[in-house]
């Protein structure tokens, strides 16, 4: 017997048994068999190795060892003889025949080991029971003494298998139905979608004419007036405009679909009148771009605006029809087509086998997403008056970058983070009224403001309205509200007064009470009780405090309990945050959902309707999963991978967390760590309940209860004594 081979055999067996996997590594097993085939000595050696591994106190090791045993048992006579001669021990270690030697943890693997062992014994008995008497004896022992019902296992497994098959079939049938339905739907919807896509394309084309459609000459005058506050008008150089436009063709897209000449005229006029009509002029961002490129920008300007990618289209009378169509299309895509296509993709990946359809659906999805993206890039500014209607229900794509850049609004009192739907219109208008004159430049305000409401202030949405800090902030701002209120327009003050009078009217009438009677007076005797010394003939308590102050009583004189008299308003809104299973969160919390944070208005898909919310959520998510792309959820990605066989990199981003934590520096890192403290609900509770401070708290509370009893019965002498 070759020593090296022997060593190798030992190594192989150890590796195989400590792999911790439910199935054996076939290559290594093959090698073991190859070595064993050479000589009986190796078989003896391997038998001893296996028995050693079987005796290990770890179910995973035993399971693997059992699998090796099974492999070798069917091959070598010597191995069979050896094993059968020691079948008692084998059964003890695998089938748990000795009640005093339970199978080692982990539990589920041990259960698996036991069933597998029983199956194996059954198989051996069927094949070799005739030849090896002890095997037959062992089998009968299990069957009759240990009452292991082999037939039942058989029957049960068969029944299980049948059930599984049936389930599989049913699932398949359901999927099939779904797929055919989806195909039909798809067939019907594809023309619509394609039409929709082309329409979108056309709209975009209309809204943003291709740079090639312009001749440079006509473009030049469009470079409009610089910002009046910062820029002397004389600095404007027209030739530069053309160069800029040449360099960045996308800048030309910034054009509004207004009549070009009209605009030109207007802007030229504005150049001269520079300081007037600020708001009108701000509509045209390419002026900013121009100014920036000429290097004549003032420092009051924020540089964060990236003009090269920002395209802004504003709705006017001229392009109204197109923009309306665009908006309708956008809504159609985001509410109808895209969800439908997404559901198809999901369905096809789940059902499998429909590669062509899957690809087609994915293409469609890509097209739709692209269209949405383009639409977003356009930054269409819808008209205000319509927008109020639009904003409440549907998807509004106001560019929030603009807001971020320019909305340096002083904080207002009455901070309200949760904005009910019926107030959203007001909210939308708020920044314009609040902004100071210097910042007004940036704000596009095309329409006159209807009733500015300074109280509605969108501020720091990250702050939790349910926590104390937010309340404090509100209070602070209330105190400080005087100054901003004075600056922010005349209509505020009367409003406040009005509110005050309203408050008065609303103030409840409180019944007269003892506290009001003694209002503002000091009461030396309040709550003092005089205890008489005992009248008993013999027994006299040793130290009698004549006057006892009862805190409760004295408090009663000074304070008043007011029961909450408000009406309970049932909550009608739901959280509606999208859940992993595709539904929307049904929780009805007043302000904050414990799972999804502050409740914000959401559309039918669970997407926040308010762009600010969307941005915040986005930021949070980004923080959460740094490099993980959010455009597809991991499960879907994995499914697509499984379906198409292409590696999209899901394992790289998502598989990391699981493997990393497993025992470092351990000898066999693949095995389940038995010493690992179990993180069960029970253990967590135990940690909570039995920690020191909690125990102390409980004992204190108990003591207090005890003491109270003494106080209660203080007039009884046996309690009064101690």
């Amino acid at each position: 017997m070759d020593h090296a081979q022997r060593e190798k055999l030992s190594e192989l067996v150890e590796e195989l048994t400590t792999s911790g996997e439910p199935k054996l590594n076939q290559d290594k097993m093959k090698e073991v068999k190859k070595i064993c085939k050479v000589s009986n000595d190796y078989i003896e050696h391997v038998y001893h190795l296996i028995m050693m591994q079987l005796a290990q106190e770890h179910a995973e090791i035993r399971l693997s060892a059992l699998q090796i045993t099974d492999e070798l048992f069917s091959r070598s006579h010597l191995f069979r003889t050896l094993l059968v001669s020691n079948l008692q021990e084998f059964l003890e270690l695998t089938v748990e025949t000795d009640a005093e030697q339970p199978l080692p943890p982990p539990q589920e693997v041990a259960r698996k080991l036991k069933t597998l062992a029983i199956h194996t014994i059954q198989a051996w008995q069927d094949a070799y029971g005739q030849a090896y008497k002890k095997l037959a004896l062992g089998y009968h022992f299990l069957k009759q003494v240990k009452k292991v019902d082999f037939n039942d296992i058989h029957a049960r497994t068969q029944a299980e298998r049948r059930r599984l098959e049936e389930k599989q079939k049913r699932l398949e049938r359901i999927y099939k139905d779904k797929v055919t339905k989806a195909i039909q739907e798809m067939e019907e919807a594809i023309p619509d979608i394609e039409e929709c896509l082309t329409e979108v394309e056309n709209c975009i084309q209309l809204l943003t004419p291709h740079p090639g459609d312009f001749n440079l000459g006509s473009l030049e005058p469009t470079a409009a007036s610089p910002s009046p506050a910062s820029m002397p008008p004389g600095h404007h150089k027209e030739p530069l405009v053309s160069t800029v436009d040449d360099e960045r063709p996308c800048c030309s897209k910034d054009l509004e679909d207004k009549g070009a000449e009209e605009l030109k005229e207007v802007t030229k006029k504005e150049e001269e009148e520079s300081s007037e009509e600020e708001s009108e002029m701000e509509e045209v961002p390419e002026q900013d771009a121009f100014i920036r490129n000429t290097g004549l920008m003032s420092r009051t300007y924020s540089l964060a605006l990236d003009i090269s990618t920002d395209v802004s289209v504003k709705e006017t009378e001229d392009n109204e029809a197109v923009v309306n169509a665009m908006r309708d299309l956008h809504c159609l895509i985001s509410t109808k087509h895209l969800p439908a296509v997404q559901s198809w993709v999901k369905l096809f990946t789940k059902a499998g086998g429909n590669e062509v359809l899957l690809r087609r659906a994915l293409d469609l999805k890509k097209g739709l997403v692209k269209a949405l993206q383009k639409h977003k890039e356009l930054h269409i500014e819808y008209r205000r008056r319509e927008r109020r209607v639009v904003k409440a229900g549907t998807c509004d794509v106001e560019e929030e970058d603009d807001d971020d850049d320019f909305e340096e609004v002083p904080e207002k009192e009455g901070l309200e983070l949760h904005i009910p739907d019926h107030l959203r219109a007001e909210y939308g208008l708020e920044p314009a009224s609040a902004s100071t004159s210097s910042l007004k430049l940036a704000k596009p305000v095309p329409a006159p403001q209807p009733l500015p409401l300074p109280k509605r202030c969108s501020y720091a949405e990250e702050q939790d309205p349910t926590c104390a800090a937010a309340t404090l902030l509100v209070l602070k701002q209330k105190l400080a509200s005087a100054s901003p209120a004075s600056t922010s327009g005349g209509c505020v003050e009367p409003k406040d007064k009005e509110e005050h009078s309203q408050d008065k009217a609303k103030a409840p009438v409180i019944p007269f009470g003892i506290d009001l009677y003694y209002w503002g007076q000091e009461q030396p005797t309040a709550g003092k009780m005089i205890r008489f010394s005992s009248q008993h003939q013999f027994w006299v308590p040793h130290e009698v405090e004549e006057e006892v102050e009862n805190k409760e009583l004295s408090a009663q004189m000074k304070s008043r309990y007011i029961t909450f008299a408000g009406n309970f308003e049932p909550i009608t809104h739901e959280c509606r945050a999208p859940m992993p299973n595709g539904t929307l969160c049904k929780r009805q919390d007043r302000v904050k959902c414990p799972f999804h944070g502050v409740i914000i208005p959401r559309d039918d898909m669970g997407n926040p309707t308010n762009p600010d919310d969307a941005a915040r959520l986005e930021k949070e998510r980004m923080k959460l999963q740094e490099d993980q792309p959010d455009w597809r959820d991991p499960e879907l990605m994995r499914e697509i991978e499984a379906a198409t066989g292409e590696d999209l990199g899901s394992s790289k981003t998502f598989g990391k967390g699981k493997n990393g934590s497993k025992g470092k520096g351990k000898k066999y890192s693949n095995l389940t760590d038995l010493k690992q403290s179990t993180n069960t609900a029970r253990s967590r509770l135990e940690r909570k309940v039995f920690n020191k401070s909690a125990m102390r708290r409980v004992t204190e509370a108990m003591k207090r209860v005890d003491r109270r009893k003494h106080e209660k019965f203080a007039n009884q002498f046996n309690y009064a004594l101690n």
Binding site: K30, H77, H140
Partner: protein, 402 residues
């Protein structure tokens, strides 16, 4: 073997020598063989076995569920394979069945028409084999652990009964009454044995760790008590004086010639005593695992050149050379504790019964066929039903693993 045969032919040797040599060889080659099986009747552990001595054909077994079964051991089929059939059973359906575990069964030494069984239901029953009805029932105060009839007695027909009560009771089959009470023990009587040499000599083993020898004609008390230290240390430790073991003594067995007495105790020791003097022969058997709370049935071979003792030892049967104390081999086949074993002196076979409901037959492994036999047998095997078994013994390495 051939040497023995030629010596026998030429008349040089005593006929006994050949017989003994062959017996010894057979005993040493005991194995669990598919040739011999015993019907599985018992649904519970087997406590006791007994083979009748008249023609060595029938075996009694008593189970923990009160069932008594009679097996036919004789193989008249002229084939090596044989399954010992259960001839008749006192099953749970019988109205005479013992209600609790049967602890001891024994054939009447002179006739197979009668056997005696004792049980934890506090009775001892004398059965008529033909009708399977008890001819006589003895009631006792406590559980009956054991009973024994003298195999050689001609002048008396007494059954010694060991019960929970420290008094050994002697029941007379002739009168159906209890003739004697032997007082002396302080614990339960776990084993009683009549000497095969002197019909009035009785050995009893008790939970008080003593073994006493009695002459039943002598009413005053026991003849002597076996002392593990041969009375040398008696002064040093008054506690251990006159004790045979340091724990319960639960197995007793005279050698077939009656010269020696074997005892086992829960101190995991086995001792061999000179039955005439009561001296400890100080044979060292090593550790004999023994944690039974009841009686244990030990077997001793008969007719071998060096006698062997078969001792239940956990889930196996240990085979010891009786006089040297050497553990010859261990017969492993039971899957639970072995309670009893019995040696068949004529065929050199051992039957063992255990808690796993099995009665296992340990038979001598067949001789390897000689060269001539093999050639002859090979031709015969072609058509015979052997290959099925043989295929199981072959290796089955698949070629792709090479």
């Amino acid at each position: 073997m051939l040497g023995f045969l030629s010596a026998r032919q030429t008349g040089l040797d005593d006929p006994l020598r050949l017989r003994r040599a062959e017996s010894t060889r057979r005993v040493l080659s005991f194995e669990l063989n598919s040739d011999r099986e015993v019907d599985r009747i018992h649904g519970n552990g087997i406590n006791t076995l007994d083979i009748e001595v008249i023609d060595g054909r029938y075996m009694l077994s008593g189970g923990a569920d009160g069932v008594i079964v009679i097996y036919d051991l004789e193989n008249s089929s002229r084939k090596p394979q044989y399954t010992c059939k259960a001839l008749c059973t006192v099953g749970r359906s019988s109205r005479y069945v013992h209600r609790f575990s049967v602890e001891t069964v024994q054939w009447y030494p002179r006739d197979t028409g009668m056997f005696v069984s004792s049980s934890f239901d506090k009775t001892m029953k004398v059965w008529d084999t033909e009708t399977l009805k008890p001819a006589e029932v003895f009631q006792f105060q406590g559980n009956v652990y054991c009973h024994h009839m003298s195999p050689i007695a001609r002048k008396h027909s007494l059954i010694a009964v060991g019960t929970e009560d420290p008094k050994v009771q002697l029941c007379d089959l002739k009168s159906g009454g209890r003739s004697h009470i032997l007082q002396g023990h302080r614990g339960e009587i776990l084993s009683v044995r009549w000497s095969p040499r002197h019909e009035h000599i009785l050995a009893t083993a008790s939970a008080d760790s003593r073994v006493r020898l009695w002459d039943v004609r002598k009413a005053s008390g026991s003849l002597f008590t076996l002392d593990q230290h041969n009375r040398e240390k008696s002064k040093a430790s008054s506690e251990a004086v006159n004790t045979a073991h340091n724990g319960r003594v639960n197995g007793l067995r005279f050698t077939p010639d009656g010269l020696h007495l074997l005892s086992t105790g829960t101190d995991d020791r086995m001792r061999l005593w000179n039955s005439a003097t009561g001296a400890n022969t100080l044979v060292n058997y090593g550790k004999v695992e023994n944690d039974s709370r009841k009686g244990l049935q030990v077997a001793v071979s008969q007719g071998c050149s060096a006698e062997f003792a078969f001792v239940p030892c956990g889930s196996s049967v240990a085979v010891y050379a009786l006089h040297t104390g050497e553990r010859v081999t261990t017969l492993r086949g039971h899957y639970n504790n072995v309670n009893c074993c019995v040696f068949h002196p004529d065929y050199q076979e051992l039957y063992s019964g255990g808690k796993d409901c099995n009665i296992l037959a340990w038979v001598p492994s067949p001789r390897c066929p000689d060269i001539e036999d093999e050639e002859r047998g090979a031709a015969a095997q072609e058509g015979a039903g052997q290959p099925a078994a043989n295929r199981a013994f072959e290796d089955a390495w698949s070629s792709d693993e090479g």
